[in-house]
């Protein structure tokens, strides 16, 4: 375990050095991501011009939801996005082999090379929005709620990671992987909607199999609604989270085995 932490701190420091060399890039990406976030806020404003509630969600509850979605998404992107997006290149150029001889787990090595500092800043913006929404709602969550909120976000990050990594693993078979990255964004596009709007088979698939709907909804509900029982919500999050994490790990193992036997 300590070895992993040591290796990670080296990679982190390298990331910081690299990032400081590309300050303009950092600021521009920050600007891009802030624009997206602002756009989402405008979308909510436009919608709530016409209604007071969507399902049983009021405007500031939806803002808190989008803020939570932002926090989870940006934390995930900070730690993992660049690296997973790069996987198809590693496979295509054969550089993956270098990763495989490292004294750490290949999935870890592939996933953690770079850290996105602009995403870290955006996650903080998300936190600010969530706090502001709580203020607007006049809600003061208890300690347990905040704790469960943080745990739920951590599980949410794991789900983001697993879904994108699963898609990226397909690049062992499909060479040009931009479509797969696009897939990640499209799947999580619906994560910022209140779960009450979804019905039928779509709801089942995207709440349990590819559980994008619950990633932001569960922590938001737990944080701002003390009357809702967190047990069932957390159970769903943990169960579906475990499912995707394990499925991704198995798929990765399978892909790696085929890759190793092909190039040897």
């Amino acid at each position: 375990m300590r070895r992993y932490l040591e290796i990670y701190s080296i990679m982190f420091r390298n990331s910081l050095v690299r990032e400081m060399n590309f300050k303009v890039n950092f600021i521009l990406w920050l600007f891009v991501e802030l624009l997206w976030f602002a756009g989402q806020m405008i979308f909510i404003e436009v919608l709530f011009q016409y209604v007071d509630k969507i399902g049983d969600w009021s405007k500031w509850e939806v803002v808190l939801l989008v803020g939570t979605h932002q926090i989870t998404g940006q934390i995930f992107q900070a730690f993992f996005y660049m690296n997973i997006a790069n996987l198809s290149e590693l496979v295509r150029t054969g550089k993956l082999d270098l990763m495989l001889v490292l004294p750490v787990d290949a999935q870890f090595a592939v996933s953690t090379r770079q850290f996105g500092f602009d995403n870290a800043v955006n996650a903080i913006v998300g936190v600010a929005i969530v706090v502001f929404s709580l203020f607007k709602l006049g809600v003061m969550p208890g300690v347990t709620q905040v704790f469960l909120y943080l745990v739920a976000i951590a599980i949410g990050v794991a789900i983001h990671y697993s879904v994108m990594f699963f898609l990226a693993t397909m690049s062992f078979w499909i060479v040009r992987a931009q479509g797969l990255i696009y897939g990640y964004y499209n799947l999580f596009n619906i994560a910022r909607y209140p779960d009450t709007i979804f019905r039928g088979i779509f709801k089942v698939i995207f709440s349990w199999l590819i559980p994008v709907i619950i990633v932001a909804n569960v922590p938001s509900r737990i944080l701002m609604r003390s009357f809702e029982k967190p047990g069932a919500l957390m159970f769903q999050l943990v169960a579906s989270g475990l499912f995707v994490v394990i499925a991704t790990r198995l798929f990765w193992g399978f892909a790696l085995k085929r890759y190793s036997s092909a190039s040897s």
Binding site: V32, I42, I54, Y182, N186
Partner: protein, 272 residues
């Protein structure tokens, strides 16, 4: 028959483009299939919105809103550049531009033909999911009541393709100056996504904002041809809107050409 010879080489480019883009077929298909998830999300959110509202929103009801998004999806497939900016930037970075500076083939014309071939292939590859979507929602399909609407909408759509392409081309020209154009491209994508009618119809935005957008190019990149087809824009407004669209088409074309000229100047000054 001299003119045929002149245009002939561009048709050849179109043909080659079609063949080459076959490599991208998986990319195109994945992009189209995954594109259904947000569409379903859109359907659900507007269902919930209309349930909560109990009446119309900005002149739309549930059916016409869903129809709007289906048309926008189809139009977007037809006119939005997907690979062009990145390829142009790669051409510049890798020095492929050199061959165009000597050959009698205009780079803009060449890229335009490739763009058209990509669009044709993209539409063909993604036609089945689109047809399924329209078939699923066939009850909400409303065809224009005037036959003239069809050709006008098609012309407007063609102009939208032009505007989107010239903007993408002009942005890609930045590769003559900066190493990584992705940030600038994504900034533009953000503006286009929110202001071209992909996220919600422009006419449900506050009136003041609509007036401003009326003059910017974004609405004419996607929203305007769809609005024309839905016959939301009629009479004087229609001609005025088409006029603004033509102006933006010419402006973006001019910017694209200027960027090329300056870029090549710099390229040759730096030593090619």
């Amino acid at each position: 028959m001299v003119w045929l010879g002149f245009f002939g080489k561009y048709f050849k480019v179109f043909d080659i483009g079609l063949q080459n883009t076959f490599v991208y077929r998986w990319n195109f298909l994945l992009r189209s299939l995954f594109g259904f998830v947000p569409l379903v999300g859109t359907v659900f959110i507007w269902r919930a919105m209309f349930d909560a509202r109990g009446s119309g929103i900005g002149g739309y009801n549930y059916s016409s809103m869903i129809y709007y998004f289906l048309l926008t999806m189809l139009a977007s497939n037809l006119v939005t550049p997907t690979e062009d900016e990145w390829q142009i930037a790669a051409d510049i970075r890798d020095g492929q531009i050199n061959s165009f500076l000597t050959k009698p083939l205009n780079y803009l014309g060449y890229r335009l033909m490739l763009f058209l071939s990509y669009r044709v292939l993209y539409t063909v590859v993604t036609i089945i999911p689109v047809v399924i979507a329209f078939a699923w929602f066939r009850k909400i399909i409303v065809l224009p009541s005037h036959w003239e609407t069809w050709p006008v909408a098609v012309v407007s759509l063609a102009m939208s393709a032009g505007i989107q392409f010239f903007i993408a081309y002009a942005l890609a020209m930045l590769a003559f100056w900066i190493l990584e154009i992705s940030t600038v491209v994504f900034i533009l994508y953000s503006f286009e996504y929110f202001l071209s009618g992909q996220l919600f119809p422009i006419d449900i935005m506050p009136a003041g904002l609509q007036t401003v957008l009326h003059w910017l190019p974004f609405t004419y990149e996607l929203y305007f041809p769809v609005a024309v087809f839905l016959e939301k824009v009629r009479g004087q407004d229609l001609w005025f809107g088409l006029g603004i669209q033509v102006i933006w088409l010419l402006v973006t074309l001019e910017i694209a050409c200027q960027m090329w000229r300056r870029g090549v100047c710099r390229y040759q000054a730096v030593g090619g």
